[in-house]
Amino acid sequence: MIVSFRLNGEDTSFRVTHPASLLDVLRDELGAAGSKNACEQGECGSCSVLLDGQLVCSCLVMACDVEGSEVVTVEGIAGEELHPVQKAMNEAGAVQCGFCTPGFVVAAAELFQRNPTPSRGEIEEALAGNICRCTGYGAIIRAFEGLAGREAP
């Protein structure tokens, strides 16, 4: 069957023959490999995307279910310039191996769209579904505290 949706603002369609995840279709068929595949069970957040504006794990979205929906991946977060959350991560040195970074970028972009001045607690809660296996949380949190206009203690 053919599934049609909007991916990063462009009309897109793909064929599915089995209950593949959106993550697999993004990476293997649509050339959008920014969303990473790690746990395949919604624990790590490295595949985070926005589905109709909601932050979700693309590994837990059945690809056929995006029919008629709007999906934004990490590739669609930046405009002409990097998104402010991407700049903040660069400046704070909040990228180590980089594998979790796309998921953090998408999750943080969603947070700042909802709440431009999150507290540290709100940042931590919003990013609770994203795991950094390098354990680089200190710099990641500092990056977003800076962006929220709060200096780290």
């Binding site: 209950p19 069970q41 794990c57 059945m62 609770a128």
Partner: protein, 269 residues
């Protein structure tokens, strides 16, 4: 592969009766698919069914997400919602999925037990509502017939004046409960205690309820006895998450702590 995207409830119910696999948030089903334990070839997506997304007083549509319950649900259920998975999981996962999966650790289930909620199911021949105690029959086993769709969770028209949820796990976020608990207290002093992760299904600690409901102003000794009874009544096992002994202890501690919260003056909003 075949998929339907109904917006109408009757169409969704018919699809399930025709053997199609219901797909809501996907947070349980897709884990099975990703781990090659399930390969549904005919799927009915429930995400667009308007009736399932309705949250109207005591009736919570099965398709209402944890994210919405976190913001719009009754206090203890909203508290439970906030501990379900991560923001990503709460944006996708639904209360109907929690009920249908019927995990012993389902975070939303102790609340349903504590307030004596009913589960509404629909088949092409009609609807029925089942008390929670009859619906949850074992570990991941329910009274749902194969041709039925879970359509709603129905709470009583009036909830007890006070109700509180808490959960113990190895960390604060993204954690499956070691023990979770809801305590309710009505204005007439009647207390209910429901727990998860301590039995094959959500359960009530009825002896502890009876004992403490007779104590309008519980003394320290009564609170201690209440906790002891809860610890005694639960029937946990030792598994990879915890031990029977720890779960018994934690169940008593949580129940007492929540009762104490119910007895305090309500916090200012």
């Amino acid at each position: 592969m075949e998929a339907l995207y109904p917006t109408d409830i009757d169409e969704a119910v018919q699809a399930v009766a025709d053997g199609m696999t219901p797909l809501a948030g996907g947070t349980d089903l897709m884990v099975e698919v990703n781990f090659r334990q399930s390969r549904p070839e005919r799927v009915v997506s429930l995400r667009r069914v308007r009736e399932l997304a309705e949250l109207d007083g005591p009736r919570i549509g099965a398709g209402v997400t944890w994210r919405r319950i976190e913001r719009e649900g009754p206090r203890a259920l909203a508290q439970a919602a906030r501990t379900v998975g991560s923001p990503q999981i709460r944006n996708a996962g639904t209360i109907g999925g929690n009920v249908g999966t019927a995990s012993p650790a389902g975070d939303g289930l102790p609340f349903l037990a504590a307030v004596d909620a009913r589960i509404e199911l629909a088949s092409p021949t009609g609807r029925r509502t089942v008390p929670w105690e009859e619906f949850f029959v074992g570990v991941k086993k329910t009274d749902r017939h194969p041709d039925e769709l879970i359509t709603a969770v129905v709470l009583p028209d009036r909830l007890p004046a006070r109700h509180e949820f808490a959960k113990v796990g190895v960390r604060n976020a993204m954690v499956i409960a070691t023990v979770c608990c809801v305590v309710t207290r009505a204005d007439d002093g009647r207390v209910t205690v429901a727990l998860g992760s301590v039995a094959p299904t959500p359960m009530r600690a009825r002896q502890a309820e009876t004992m403490i409901s007779a104590e309008p102003y519980p003394s320290e000794a009564a609170l201690a006895e209440f906790a002891r009874l809860v610890s005694e009544e639960v029937t946990p096992i030792t598994d990879h998450r915890s031990t029977e002994q720890y779960r018994r202890h934690a169940a008593g501690v949580l129940a007492r702590r929540l009762l104490e919260r119910c007895l305090r003056e309500p916090e200012a909003a």
